[in-house]
């Protein structure tokens, strides 16, 4: 190769490597928060938690079913308000391939049981004692609702109170065909 051409190739390669490196750094820095938190479209992180009856619920066991995950605490008034709505919609959809799991954040069994008894909740309520599932789903604010498709993908992440109609629509969206 002629000397001038070789020099041009070298310069192009060096500049390209540098520009790509810098572009990646800037991109990674800008999307750092996004890669750390759960996004719609991600695989739903698998977990296993125990409900008040002592039954273990493993997310991956529900593959083929739509899963409605609700993170809540007894101290959170909007959580409390949407629970009865969830309960009545659960009655409608439970035989249509929908699983509903309410994940309590690290409260005592007694408090959770009292709450469940008061509202007569029919869906399983599990307690995330070590807050590991909350971390895995990057839940910061309660109530948080995450929809998992029958394929195990996150299809929606919502924080804040839900209306009964909205819950119905959400369940409809993850119903297996």
């Amino acid at each position: 190769m002629d000397k001038k051409k070789k020099r041009l190739v070298m310069r192009t390669v060096i500049l390209a490597v540098l520009v790509i490196g810098i572009a990646y750094t800037i991109y990674a820095a800008a999307t750092q928060d996004k890669t750390k938190t759960l996004q719609v479209g991600d695989d739903a992180p698998d977990f296993v938690l125990t409900d008040l009856e002592g039954n273990k619920h493993k997310l991956s066991d529900y593959k083929g079913q739509g899963v409605f995950l609700n993170f809540w605490g007894t101290w959170c008034p909007p959580c409390e308000k949407e629970m009865p709505y969830m309960n009545s919609q659960y009655e409608v959809y439970k035989d249509q391939g929908i699983e509903m799991l309410a994940v309590n954040i690290a409260q005592s069994e007694f408090e959770v049981q009292t709450f469940v008894d008061r509202y007569g909740l029919g869906f399983p309520v599990v307690i995330d004692t070590t807050k590991s599932v909350r971390n895995a789903y990057s839940v910061r604010q309660l109530p948080a609702t995450i929809l998992v498709s029958p394929e195990g993908k996150v299809t929606e992440i919502t924080t804040g109170e839900l209306t009964e109609q909205r819950i119905g629509e959400m369940l409809e969206s993850i119903k297996p065909n």
Binding site: K4, R7, L8, R11, T12, I14, L15, L18, V19, G21, I22, T25, I26, A28, A29, A30, Q32, T35, K36, P45, D46, F47, V48, L49, K58, L59, S60, G73, T74, W75, P77, I105, A106, Q107, S108, E109, F110, E111, Q113, T114, D128, T129, T130, K131, S132, V133, N135, A136
Partner: protein
């Protein structure tokens, strides 16, 4: 044919832009021919970028190769970085501030200026794209400029000829010329003496080149390599897995998953705060600072557990204890590249309450019960047909809402209970609402009451989780940087050329810095070999002399 080469009188073809012939050192440009002392910065080599400026890539290359551009970038970066120090950056303003919105926070604390500052994005300046682009451009500038200057310099130093053109030698700064008695002997003597002065000496007929500390010329380039490694290390921080900085508050007895450390669980066994015993007397320093108690030890007894490989979140059935540690100041729990430090603590959180079930009139006790506030039981059997049932537990009681007592947090800051008390005398049971310092009997006058006996308290440790895998890279970069500085500063590249033709001696010297040192070498040489006196063609004053130097 383009103007590609410059042919020297010695017949050597030099690249266009060369100031001094690569082979013999003869000045090639009019400018160099007319100066008294030649420019030896890059040994007269053509700086590559200054000679080709054709394609787009060449133009970009030449832009970054420019020292002026590099310095401009440094100045802009310094100015920008200093603007970022006007107000605290976002990551340092209190996350627990009552004002959740950062913009409102800056406005309320710093007024209009704070608002503008926030709106311009200066509160997160160092992670802004434009700041990072500037740093990146400086990185490119350092690399390109070093390649452009370092490689030609290296080639020229590697291919030095012993015999140089007389006009090259005469244009060096410190030279000597004159007649010597016996050319051959003198040259041999010079060689012997310069070798004793630790010069590397080469001979080519009647010419001699002595050289030492050539590595000094590479100092700035070594220094730049260190700088680039350092920059790479800093930018690796944003690559997932290289850098973790999280925090958590863990109560005694509590086990939580460690944020930023998936699969690891942390149990706080005990938090200990020890203070120095004053022995009834305050030390002078304590009095001066107005403190009564001085802490001796902050300690968290901790256990770190790990899930087996492949276990999913929340599966704590097969945790393996991997580390047990007493975390103290400067003694973090360290495991697998992570360090867990103490940052904060909370003393005396309410963790349990002991009550006595007793008859209000006779104060006769039916027994005591202790309620674990983090995990209360439903039923407490006191024996002899007496029992207490908790109907409702509110860890952080906050009044009634829509006829229901509510709690505002899951933490037992202000516990309240609704008890169902049963005794042989009241088998139907009596309901009592008990909160701290207050008891309500919602369903009529009771015979019995729950009397508060004693609280149990526990402490909590605030911890941060740190991992920084970029530190080794940063230290390697830093060490190379300093090495480059030292090599460039404390070593001097010294060269002496000697030619003797017909007993006529011509001696020239060059050094990249410290001409005093160069002259001392010549003085020492003259003590052993009879030489004509040397002459400094620039004859600067002493102070100017010290500042003189080049790459």
């Amino acid at each position: 044919m383009e103007k590609e080469t410059v042919i020297c009188t010695c017949g050597h073809e030099n690249p266009f832009g060369t100031k001094l012939c690569e082979k013999c050192g003869n000045p090639l440009t009019e400018e160099e021919k007319n100066t008294k002392v030649v420019d030896m910065r890059y040994d007269g080599k053509a700086i590559r970028s200054k000679t080709y400026n054709k394609s787009f890539v060449d133009k970009v290359w030449n832009f970054f190769s420019s020292v002026k551009v590099g310095i401009t970038l440094i100045v802009i970066l310094l100015l920008a970085a200093s603007i970022g120090t006007f107000l605290p950056q976002e990551m340092y303003v209190n996350a627990g501030s009552p004002i959740a919105d950062k913009g409102a926070y800056y406005e309320s604390v710093y007024g209009f200026f704070g608002k503008i500052y926030y709106m311009l994005g200066l509160t997160d300046l160092y992670s802004s794209w434009w700041f990072q682009i500037l740093v990146g451009m400086l990185g490119i500038s350092i690399i390109v400029a070093s390649i452009d200057r370092g490689i030609p310099l290296h080639k020229s130093l590697k291919n030095q000829r012993v015999k140089r053109h007389a006009s090259f030698m005469k244009r060096q700064r410190v030279i000597a010329s004159g007649e010597v008695a016996d050319g051959e002997t003198t040259l041999n003597d010079i060689e012997k003496q310069l070798k004793a002065q630790k010069f590397k000496v080469r001979r080519d007929g009647t010419a001699l080149l002595a050289e030492k500390n050539r590595i000094s010329r590479y100092g700035p380039y070594i220094n730049h390599v260190g700088l680039i490694i350092f920059l790479v290390g800093v930018s690796l921080r944003v690559v997932p897995g290289f850098y973790v900085d999280e925090s958590m508050m863990v109560k005694e007895g509590e086990m939580v998953e460690v944020p930023g450390m998936p699969g690891y669980y942390f149990k706080n066994e005990k938090f200990i705060l020890e203070t120095h015993d004053n022995n009834g007397q305050l030390s002078g320093e304590q009095e001066k600072q107005g403190v009564n108690v001085v802490a001796k030890n902050f300690q968290t007894n901790a256990k770190l557990y790990k899930q087996p490989e492949g276990a999913v979140s929340g599966d704590t059935s097969e945790l393996e204890l991997v580390k047990e540690a007493e975390i103290r100041v400067n003694h973090p729990l360290q495991y697998d590249g992570y360090s867990i430090y103490q940052m904060d603590y909370r003393l005396g959180d309410l963790s349990g309450m002991t009550f006595k079930l007793m008859n209000k009139a006779t104060e006769e006790s039916y027994g005591e019960l202790t309620i674990d506030l983090t995990n209360p039981s439903k039923m407490y059997d006191l024996g002899n047909g007496s029992s207490v049932e908790i109907l409702t537990y509110l860890p952080d009681y906050d009044g009634f809402k829509d006829g229901q007592p509510v709690t505002k947090s899951p933490n037992p800051n202000n516990p309240a209970f609704i008890f169902m008390m049963k005794t042989p005398e009241t088998p139907e049971g009596e309901t009592s609402f008990v909160e701290i310092k207050n008891t309500i009997e919602p369903l009529g006058e009771n015979q019995n009451m729950m009397k508060f006996v004693a609280p149990q308290t526990s402490n909590a440790s605030g911890l941060t989780i740190n991992k920084n895998s970029t530190l080794p890279i940063l230290s390697v970069g830093g060490i190379i940087f300093l090495l480059g500085v030292a090599i460039g500063s404390y070593w001097n590249h010294r060269r002496i050329w000697v030619q003797i033709t017909d007993n006529q001696l011509l001696l020239a010297t060059h050094t990249n810095k410290n001409w005093h040192g160069m002259k001392r070498e010549l003085d020492k040489l003259s003590e052993h070999v009879a030489l004509p006196a040397y002459e400094d063609q620039l004859a600067l004053t002493d102070s100017e002399d010290e500042e003189e130097g080049d790459q």
